[in-house]
Subunit: 130 residues, 2 copies
DNA sequence: TCTTGACTTAGAGTTAACTCCAGGTGTTAC
DNA sequence: GTAACACCTGGAGTTAACTCTAAGTCAAGA
């Protein structure tokens, strides 16, 4: 599968795909005789993984570290697990913070809603006055 | 309260406080005769609000828009509510995505844990062999 | 054969949100 | 009164993560 098709399927731009490869996040993408990238199923799975992690805010650099460990084989399992645990904890903390912000936003929206209701009441009472 | 103290209390650097003011996120910070910033309770509340929103990833630009509406008074309540609702929805969506990533991370950590257990078992069985 | 369009590379440019710097002023402690 | 220090401003620099550009290659169709 060539880069344009991969881009369509995954929603990741060709530029970004090439960038990921360049920085070591997508190693071993095959090339055909003409030097053109041919993505296989493994590449696609990796792209989906990267997408998922990136959307959650994990730094590209951390993902590169992880991928490099994967390439080094089984003796890095412990180290990989530690990276994932660290990122999991950071992510959980960020989710908790965002939840607090969400609560505050909902509270403020509620305040604005009653303010608007008040305004309306006021207008209705004016109607009755006249 | 001067900028250094505010920075200590809030954890926001003096540079960032000045930056927020410059872009219109912290309007109307008073100055003393010497031209030095004197932050009051309202400023502090606003800083806490900004901190909360920024930690959740709301863009500075959106916050500026919101603050500018607040300055324009009551007739902007509807518009302000809409901004908050939009950001609330975006935030809820991001939290949901991050939760998915968190689940995936936990799953992967689990996989690594059983891989490590397997390794250990293997080593124990070797001990029995010899 | 010539053109079109997708692909390649190296490297420069962009964006958001700070963060730092130089040069200057004001305030406080001795 | 002078040294040290906190503050000021305008503007430049930084960082992460892309995103774009220029110049070139290659395959397929008119």
């Amino acid at each position: 599968m060539k880069i344009a098709e991969v881009s369509d399927k995954t929603g990741v731009s060709p530029d970004t795909l090439r960038y990921y490869e360049r920085v070591g996040l997508l190693p071993s993408v095959r090339r055909n005789e003409g030097g053109i990238r041919e993505y296989d199923a493994t590449d696609l799975r990796r792209i989906e993984f990267i997408k998922c992690m990136r959307r959650a805010g994990l730094p590209v650099e951390t993902l590169i570290e992880y991928v490099q460990l994967v390439l080094q084989g089984d003796q890095t399992i412990e180290a990989r697990k530690e990276i994932l645990q660290e990122q999991r904890d950071l992510l959980a903390a960020r989710i908790a913070e965002m939840q607090k912000t969400l609560d505050l936003l909902n509270y403020k929206i509620g305040v604005y809603e009653s303010a608007l209701l008040e305004k309306e009441k006021e207008m209705l009472s004016r109607v009755e006055e006249f």
